[in-house]
Amino acid sequence: MTETGPLYTLKNLSKTYTRGKERIAIFEALDMTISHGEFIAIMGPSGSGKTTLLNLLGGIDRPTSGEVEFEGSRVDNLSPGKLAAWRARHVGFIFQFYNLMPTLSAAQNVELPLLLTKLSGKERKRRVHTALDIVGIADRAGHRPRQLSGGQQQRVAIARAIVADPEVLLCDEPTGDLDRASADEILATLQLLNQEMNKTIIMVTHDPAAAKYARRELFLDKGRFVEKGAGHE
């Protein structure tokens, strides 16, 4: 599959949860296409299903019905092992609370996804250094997460997400735990990754200021997407 086709195609996607006897529908028959190189911000009220959508795109949750296609191939029906391998190869995750390993240094945290490859130790080290350099934190390579500020930790998390060179970065409230200045730095970094390295970025956020960094803003409400300017903002 070439980059001329869509990166993601969601077909008739539904996700429901059962809480006690109650059945809660998050989406019903959702369709969506995401192209290579997009930077999408997904906004919406709490409980609208933003994070659930991100989980489905990242293959860490499965739809109740419908299909998730990545570069023309279904991924929602892969076995757990194949899905894990697909995630390792194609998707980078950035979380609100960084989720770094507290016992590992920044460089070791970044190296984690490369343990799933066949790269030599020397090559892994080179890539880790490059990733840390891109996010501007190479000088903190030997520091543990607790020795870093929130913004620095999120930079390490971004380096971890990009080190294996995935096509897509899924960001769940990446600036939700940061002050404005740090948030702007992180968002600028994401923008740079999108513009200079052609990474497809799908970011869930509550923050309208963060959403402005994206090329496309979507508003998720009651299981339906509404483009910005079509009644929201």
Binding site: G81, A88, R89, L112
Partner: protein, 385 residues
């Protein structure tokens, strides 16, 4: 960095907890190593017992003697190939703390009964022909730096000579060793005649007899016939195989095997519960970290292997340090107890069993947390619904 680094980092995530767990495992394997080494040296006699050797003792107690004449009568029993006899001398050298395990024997039949005792032929002949010769085991000779040609006194705290002395003078004319490492060489023996002729009391009595049968299949019949020979006499006998006799001798000290199993079993059961519970808690604390690893693409098999490796590594660190300390303690004790328990050392069999136990302990304590780790659902663990 590799998976081993992650396993090590995970194990020492909370250093104090890891150290305490290692200490508890260390103590269990320290106990196991020390008791195992002592058990091994205690039972060495059972292990080297010959299948065709019987031992006849006084039925009342093996410390009671029996008439010398029994020796000749047993030789007439059909199926008996060789009979020898021995009497406990219980000697010491120079002072009572220098205990010397020693027996008065009939030299020719004794060496015929125990072909596993080896020595140069000229020394063998010297022992057979020299009435004052002391045949010394190599370990015992080493302990007191004795060599062939030395003349030494051995004193008994049981027997006395007619002149009131309890010292017998001997010429060390031969030094024996075992043909295998498991054969004890920590005792000495001398001519019964030389000892008996000067005894102030209990003359013409022997301690026990050792019978070589023509074939192990006739053991039961020969034992019965020997005991029947002396039934209703003032000194009735009890004949059993050498292995059974050695085992019974050991049981004078208590059922060592049972004590060993109970002590080690209690220690291991406790350790199993402590380590198992702690490992479950430790993995629960890392639910989110494991979920992140799964998100990054680590599959369930790899997560399972890493958690299991962590508990095995924990067990191996504690166990190997414990076993190392046990070896040091046994080595120290071996020097101090050379006279009483020669050959005390850390046997390879104990080391191998200990390593198997370490791996087993790691597997048992790690299996539940490893399964729990594979069952972690990413979405739930990351707090997302």
């Amino acid at each position: 960095m590799n998976d081993a680094t992650l396993v090590r980092k995970g194990l020492f995530r909370k250093k104090m907890r890891a150290v305490l767990l290692i200490l508890s495992i260390l103590i269990a394997f320290l106990i196991f190593g020390v008791l195992g080494a002592f058990y091994s040296v205690f039972t060495a006699g059972v292990d080297v017992a010959a299948a065709n050797r019987l031992v006849t003792v006084n039925r009342i107690n093996f410390t009671m003697s029996m008439p010398f004449a029994y020796w000749g009568r047993v030789q007439q029993v059909e199926g008996v190939d060789n009979v020898t006899h021995a009497s406990w001398f219980g000697g010491y050298y120079q002072e009572p703390r220098n205990f010397v395990q020693s027996f008065a024997v009939d030299p020719e039949s004794y060496l015929a009964a125990y072909p596993e005792l080896v020595m140069p032929e000229d020394q063998r002949q010297a022992f057979l022909t020299n009435r004052t010769c002391l045949l010394v085991g190599a370990d015992l000779a080493g302990q007191f730096s004795w060599s062939v040609g030395d003349r030494i006194p051995l004193l008994s705290n049981i027997w006395q000579k007619r002149d009131g002395s309890s010292s017998w003078d001997f010429d060390i004319c031969a030094i024996f060793d075992g043909n295998e490492a498991t054969v004890p060489a920590n005792y000495a023996m001398f001519h019964y005649d030389y000892y008996n002729e000067d005894l102030a009391f209990n003359n013409d009595q022997i301690g026990w007899m050792v019978i070589n049968t023509t074939d192990p299949s006739v053991n039961d019949r020969v034992a019965r016939e020997i005991d029947n020979l002396f039934a209703n006499s003032p000194a009735e006998t009890e004949t059993s195989t050498e292995a059974a006799f050695n085992q019974a001798f050991l049981e004078q000290f208590g059922n060592i095997a049972l004590i060993l199993v109970l002590v080690i079993g209690a220690a291991f059961a406790t350790i199993l519960m402590i380590v198992g519970t702690t490992m479950v808690m430790a993995i629960n604390e890392r639910t989110k970290e494991i979920a992140v690893m799964k998100t990054l693409g680590f599959n369930e098999g790899r997560i399972f292997g890493m958690v299991l490796s962590e508990s095995i590594l924990l067990s191996l660190i504690g166990g190997l340090i414990g076993l190392g300390l046990a070896t040091l303690m046994v080595t120290g004790a071996a020097a101090a107890l050379a006279g009483f328990l020669p050959g005390l050392s850390m046997p390879l069999s104990v080391v191998l069993v200990a390593i198997a136990l370490m791996i087993g302990l790691g597997l048992v304590t790690g299996i539940v947390p490893a399964i729990n780790a594979t069952r972690i659902r990413i979405v739930e663990a990351l707090g997302k619904t």
